[in-house]
Amino acid sequence: MARILSILVGLFFVVALAWSLLVGLLNFELPHSVEQEFYEHPKEVHFASDGAFGKFDRQQLQRGFQVYKEVCSACHSLRLVAFRDLAALGYNEAEVKAIAAGFQVPGIDPNTGEATTRPGLATDYFPKPYANDVAAGAANNNAIPPDLSLMAKARHDGAAYVYSLLTGYQNPPADLPEAYRPGTGLHYNPYFPNLNLAMAPPLVEGQVEFGDGSPSTVEQMSKDISAFLVWTAEPTLEKRKQTGWPVLGFLLFATILGFLSFRNIWADKKKNKG
């Protein structure tokens, strides 16, 4: 009885699925979109922080920070990063204070209580370039520039994606259908999922003058800012990888000891001895 009931219930699901399957097969059509055809996967790019032994290249992070400060910060916020965090980039206390003081952050007038701005302190977070999303949208053709703090973790292949996007601007290919060509205020970039990006190419050769004499090519600046964003997305990345090795070493040791004692304990239960 239970068997018949179960087969009936089973048939109900199977027939319903077969029905969906039949309709699916009759209307079978592989998806095709122009975006997919022209979209390109992020370029292959390597950073010092990659890999199990990865460490941040502080010189590069400082260059990346400079690019953020002089270029990106005009439109993009970095709200999860505080000036004090910059000490991890190799700046000393005085330098961190000086960097912070170079930014105007929201404050309160101590006499009138009115909203005002004041020079930043090391404990302040990076100020936002726009008062709110509406202002950000209004200034940027309704495309709100995203916060960059977590960008390197918030996209597939994060850092490579940022790097590819910054170096990927190009003229639309000749065979791109008219409907997918960049409209007003849009820029063709095959590394962006819908191919047309509201952000104009932000970097031009020679835009930033690096203190360490690195060439300020678009390539170099893009790589540096991507490395910097890997750090902003996870400042603890280096510590994580460094902690991992002793942990693995200890566990390996403990596991081997455990295995040996297991072998020892079970020795009398081996075949023909039990």
Partner: protein
């Protein structure tokens, strides 16, 4: 405990005698995980995953309690409080990555534990209760995992919550009011986040309770074993301590080793990048996918694309998704074969491997976008899934001619034949 050859606890020192007469805690430990619990000597390494699952539960509770000290379940600050844990809390990144990857590891271990049960017929008499409680634990785990994924309040948290609670909306008549009642609003927001956090903290302790029952029920008949032949004499068993403590101990080390590789070197591998974007009700992600451990059931949900007579496709999908797990409750009565282990059931074994393939496919398809050819493939895999449990299993168990069983576990292990099959580790 209940075996005739389970050893009686006899306290040696005066304090233990005093204690045993008042609160027999030493007796409980002795008979639960001590020398007083005889275990079949031929268990292979698939029997180590229960212990690992318990270790996972402990890791989740310890890291979770610490995370809760720093997390704020308010929709306005939840996302930032998680980043606060990552950046400013001492070892906060370790706690969070251990918790997130620990959840995945927990599910890996439990899936292996469940499929061990499928293969070796662990659900059969006299262990039905162990199995039923196990399915309850799995359902509670799924609920806890879902609730926990909402807490970081990223894009996938929000949209996952919206999609999953939306499933309740498919229930006729009461669906929509029920969905609003569950969420405390029309869409996931502060009310939902707060209650999800509350329940996410509660359910693990409910799981502990059911785990205690699960282990208690296990100790009545004792562990099953790869031959499926019941224990016949003391020589078929070895005491849990020290034999299985040692075996579970070293495999736990190996498990922690693998988990640590994930935590320290690939902590975001199983996560979704979109969850590092704060929840935004105005912007729908291109592909909404739940956590990987829900993928088989998500694939089943999406396999129903066409209304079935008067039943809407969505309702059909929801019923099938929940049904696909609920049928596990009936497994002991669907598979009536007197032989437990698939090792001695040639026909059943073949279908078991097909089920494994279908399940692997569903895992893959649940994470794939809802477009062809994935939809058709998920329909075929889901079709087999239901056919396997509800049609094939009952028929196979009726018509199959099983291979001869060994007389006893001892014979299976030691045998007279030099080439007798040896349980791994025995």
């Amino acid at each position: 405990m209940s075996f005739p050859w389970a050893k009686e606890y006899t306290p040696q020192v005066p304090f233990m005698k005093w204690m045993d007469a008042r609160l027999p805690l030493p007796r409980l430990v002795y008979n639960a995980v001590g020398a007083g619990y005889p275990v079949p000597r031929n268990l292979n390494y698939f029997w180590n995953f229960g212990f690992m699952a318990l270790a996972c539960l402990m890791i989740q509770i310890i890291t979770g309690v610490i995370l809760a000290m720093h997390y704020a379940s308010n929709a306005g600050v939840a996302f930032d409080s998680v980043e606060h844990i990552m950046r400013d809390v001492n070892w906060g990144w370790l706690m969070r990555y251990a918790h997130a990857n620990g959840a995945s590891a927990f599910f890996v271990v439990v899936y292996i534990h469940i499929f061990r049960g499928f293969y070796y017929g662990s659900y059969k008499a006299p262990r039905e209760m162990v199995w039923l409680l196990g399915v309850v634990i799995f359902l509670l785990m799924m609920a806890t995992g879902f609730l926990g994924y909402v807490l970081p309040w990223g894009q996938m948290s929000f949209w996952g919550a919206k999609v999953i609670t939306g499933l309740f909306g498919a229930i006729p008549l009461v669906g929509e009011p029920l969905q609003i009642w569950l969420l405390g609003g029309f869409s996931p927001d502060n009310a939902a986040l707060n209650r999800f956090f509350s329940l996410h903290y509660l359910l693990p302790f409910v799981i502990i309770g059911v785990v205690v029952l699960h282990i208690w029920a296990l100790h009545i008949p004792g562990s099953s074993n790869p031959t499926g032949v019941e224990v016949k004499s003391e020589s078929d068993t070895v005491p849990f301590f020290p034999y299985f403590i040692a075996k579970d101990g070293w495999t736990l080390g190996a498990f922690l080793l693998i988990l640590s590789v994930m935590i320290f070197f690939a902590p975001n591998m199983l996560g979704h990048p979109d969850n590092y974007i704060e929840a935004n009700p105005m912007s729908t992600p291109a592909h909404i996918v739940p956590e990987w451990y829900f993928w088989p059931f998500y694939a089943i949900l999406r396999a129903f694309t066409v209304d079935f007579f008067f039943i809407p496709a969505k309702l059909m999908g929801v019923v099938a998704m929940f049904g696909s797990i609920l049928i596990w409750f009936f497994l002991p009565w669907l598979d009536k074969s007197p032989v437990r282990s698939a090792s001695y059931r040639p026909l059943h074994r073949k279908f078991f491997y097909v089920l494994l393939v279908a399940m692997a496919l569903l895992f893959y398809l649940g994470g794939a976008p809802a477009e062809e050819p994935y939809v058709v493939m998920s329909q075929i895999a889901s079709l087999y899934y239901f056919a396997h449990f509800l049609i094939i299993l009952p028929i196979v168990s009726a018509i199959e001619r099983p291979d001869p069983l060994p007389f006893s576990i001892t014979e299976a292990v030691l045998g007279k034949d030099e080439n007798a099959k040896l349980g791994t580790g025995a």
